[in-house]
């Protein structure tokens, strides 16, 4: 969506599993991923099920990702230039080290 009355923040580059993703300052990681069309943000530890955004306000922790090695809620943490985001998928890749 684009509202012509609202301009987005300056462009920043983040890396998602090593792939560059253009985002805008002020966006959360989750919003940048959803805007790019990505809706699966991680896979679960026990059953390997896909998960996306659920509460989008920091309560549910379903959108957790690793940011520069630390666990963060993708709906709360805002993008920064050069940020390395790793999506969690414990069944196919080990957890990244901090």
């Amino acid at each position: 969506m684009r509202n012509e009355n609202i301009t987005f923040g300056e462009a920043v580059n983040v890396f998602v599993d090593g792939t560059p993703l253009q985002a805008h300052r002020g966006q959360t990681i989750a919003a940048a991923l959803y805007a790019s069309g990505r809706r699966i943000l991680r896979r679960t530890r026990v059953n390997g099920k896909p998960r996306g955004l659920y509460c989008a306000m920091g309560i549910c922790f379903d959108c957790v990702v690793k940011v520069d090695g630390e666990t963060e809620r993708a709906c709360m943490r805002q993008v920064e230039d050069g940020m390395q985001v790793t999506l969690l998928d414990p069944l196919t890749k080990p957890e990244p080290k901090a």
Partner: protein, 482 residues
């Protein structure tokens, strides 16, 4: 990095209740510190555009962006300290909060506090509610209002309660394609409450405005229908709905399917009482207020002296009740510190609080959760999303362990994950009560544990709590205290 701050009145939460409390206390002369988890004050009701976005002409923004402007401007002009991106993760002794502010951890010592931590959405659970694309109505609204991102291309709204209407209006205003809104209750079921609407014209006018926006967009509202399943391979593809009777039971033969990539489903709100629990405030179960709430005096003071509550944490009541209670709590907290407050201000706040709480009770009665609504939760349905615990496991544990949800937690791991039971807590309470055939209030709720909100080990390691006064401890506990 570590800090040790002090203030007269610590207000926790910068939504309508917290901001109103801060303003009232500051105007009475108290030194006020507001602690809020988000990058910008306003809470969920006055959700702001994220920093980084620029508005060309603020006057052309939809009304729901600008309605908090006046309150926020008054707060900014009142000399109130606001800590953004600050969360209270514990309270281990009276008058002291353990706080993480950005990357630093420390303490804030206060004389009185107003807890205005708000609420979060009551999860609507059904098979498939963990699929990507299924989210809460408030989540969709936040994504649009704060981030300018639509949650999907074809959206279904479902659940119960007045909140579905503003969410629909926000999404429509952003150009979203909503196929329909499904409300579990029906106007026929509301009819008996109609006389109580008398006098609440402003609230009714709001509803009429939202209904107008929804009708103009051609979005149908279908009553007496519930989601029974969400389906899709890797993310949501279909929503299966059925008609339900007045007890919330699905009516056989009424199944129909909506193709959609997004489903926003919610059953209203649950008060966020983790902090008042940790502070030792007494709580009682009031279904009309959303479940367990801290008991409080007419002045909004809890059972712990100097700890006041305001807004949704004191019982779901909407933003107007929250502002009235915030003002009242702020005035009383300041008065307790010796500041003079005008009797007229106190009685006006009391009057407002009563009027808005009366309306909130009406809304709670009209949209009361139908008693058998959990029958769509099959044993295979996930209940604890974090630890991946199914309804069947919780029902079995309830039969073995009885109405103690903390035993059930220990046995099944439900509520032990990252969200600390915030999402599944109300579900586990309901399932347990229903399995055992006891009233909801007869079931305990999850105990709270620090940290209430995430804090890293690195930050904790840099945190130096005050060294205990050994002589003082010996005076209290006797000479043999270690």
């Amino acid at each position: 990095m570590s800090f040790a701050r002090e203030t007269d009145v610590a207000v926790i939460g910068a939504g309508p209740a917290g901001l109103s409390a801060a303003l009232a206390a500051a105007q009475a002369g108290a030194r006020v510190t507001v602690i809020d988890e988000y990058p910008q004050a306003g809470g969920q009701f006055y959700k702001q555009l994220a920093g980084g976005f620029r508005v060309i002409d603020r006057a052309r923004l939809p009304g729901d962006y600008t309605k908090g402007d006046t309150l926020l401007a008054r707060v900014r002009g009142a000399g109130i300290e606001i800590l953004n991106e600050a969360l209270v993760w514990g309270s281990f002794e009276p008058g002291v909060l353990s706080v993480r502010h950005r990357r630093a951890t420390g303490t804030i010592r206060f004389r009185n506090t107003v807890v205005a931590t708000g609420a979060y959405e009551r999860a609507a659970a059904f098979p498939g509610w963990d699929l990507p694309g299924v989210m809460t109505p408030g989540g969709a609204q936040t994504l649009v209002k704060s981030q300018q991102v639509l949650p999907g291309k074809r959206i279904v709204l479902a659940g119960s309660g007045p909140f579905l209407l503003p969410v629909a209006a926000t999404l429509i205003g952003a150009g979203a394609n909503i196929t329909a809104i499904y409300e579990a209750t029906t106007p026929l079921e509301w009819a008996k409450h109609a006389p109580r609407l008398w006098g609440h014209w402003a609230r009714m006018n709001e509803a009429v405005r939202y209904r107008g926006t929804i009708a103009k967009a051609g979005v149908p509202i279908r009553f007496g229908r519930i989601v029974v399943r969400a389906e899709g391979a890797e993310s949501l593809e279909r929503v299966v709905l059925m008609a339900c009777d007045k007890r919330g039971r699905a009516v056989p033969g009424t199944e129909h399917i909506e193709e959609a990539d997004t489903l926003c489903a919610g059953y209203g709100f649950v008060p966020a009482v983790q902090l008042t629990r940790m502070m030792g405030c007494a709580h009682s179960y009031e279904s009309g207020k959303g479940g367990w709430v801290p008991t409080h005096s007419d002045d909004m003071e809890t059972s712990v002296i100097g700890v006041f509550v305001a807004g949704e944490v004191a019982g779901i009541g909407g933003a107007h009740a929250a502002m009235a209670e915030g003002t009242l709590a702020g005035l009383m907290a300041a008065q307790r510190l010796g500041h003079t407050v005008a009797d007229a201000d106190v009685s006006a706040a009391r009057r407002n609080r009563s009027r808005h709480r009366t309306f909130a009770r009406l809304v709670a009665d009209v949209f009361a959760l139908k008693p058998d609504i959990d029958e769509i939760i099959t044993d295979e349905t996930l209940v604890c999303r974090c630890e991946e615990v199914s309804a069947g496991a919780i029902r079995a544990a309830a039969l073995s362990w009885g109405a103690n949800v903390n035993f059930i937690k220990g046995v099944t791991r439900c509520g032990m994950g990252y969200c600390q039971g915030r999402v599944c807590g109300s579900l586990v309470e309901t399932l347990t009560a229903r399995t055992l055939g006891v009233p909801a209030g007869a079931v305990d709720s999850f105990h709270v544990r620090a940290p209430l909100k995430p804090v890293t080990v690195k930050e904790l390691a840099a945190f130096h709590p005050p060294i205990p006064d050994i002589q003082h401890l010996k005076d209290i506990h006797g000479p043999h205290h270690p």
